[in-house]
């Protein structure tokens, strides 16, 4: 639709026409603000915790263990050199040999969700599967944050108490 609109504008004499190919879905998924009737409803990205501990594929388990203990995190997200989410390390993965690489012990290809997904939908899915947290990534696979179910449930409860609409 928008390519045709861009060319239509060009045919109407506009000379500086640009087509934002990825559109509204991309904008929203990147956590950027929107306006409109549904823009105030919570999304996964809006409630996700930022500043998640990360490491590289080649980092040693011993180093990661120390960093996790220092910051008090229970998980570490493994990124490649491009910053793309490759895996996830939990406490139980860190019982391995201190010289082992993160890549060798990580949970590979963890489930992720897009930042623009409605929070209520994600929580329902997490409850059904008994999941306590899920990684939030942009459409190109970069880490946006981590969504804890308890935080998400608390946010939805707050909304119910405020009388806000639940559906997106």
């Amino acid at each position: 639709m928008s390519p045709r609109a861009a060319w239509r504008l060009e045919s109407l004499g506009f000379t500086k026409v640009f087509h934002y190919v990825a559109g509204k879905a991309d904008w929203s998924a990147s956590g950027l603000p929107l306006e409109g009737r549904l823009a105030s409803l919570p999304t996964a990205g809006g409630v996700a915790r930022r500043g998640v501990l990360t490491c590289r594929l080649t980092d040693r388990v011993g180093e990661v263990r120390e960093r996790m203990a220092t910051v008090g995190d229970s998980a570490c997200v493994v990124l490649n050199d491009e910053g793309i989410v490759m895996g996830r390390l939990r406490q139980k993965d860190l019982n391995a040999d201190a010289e082992a690489t993160a890549e060798s012990v990580m949970e590979s290809g963890p489930t992720t969700v897009r930042p623009d997904l409605p929070l209520a939908d994600i929580v329902e899915r997490m409850q059904r599967r008994g999941v306590g947290s899920v990684l939030v990534t942009t459409p190109d696979g970069r880490l946006s944050g981590i969504l804890y179910r308890r935080h998400a449930e608390a946010r939805l409860t707050e909304m119910e108490n405020e009388g806000a609409p639940e559906e997106k």
Partner: protein, 67 residues
Amino acid sequence: MVAKIDRDEVQRLLREGAQLVEVLPPAEYEQEHLPGALNIPLKQLDRETTAQLQRDRPVIVYCSDYQ
């Protein structure tokens, strides 16, 4: 000539005064749209509806995604 751009370029152009146009139907625009975007649905794009746009400033059009 129409140039395809990504999100970073959209933000850069907006800082320089570009105009945003969502070409989806009004119902979808009213639900959610990019900050400051105007709504001119594709079927209504003509000389009259685009008269509100300034021709000397860049115009960025978008819809939901790769449509």
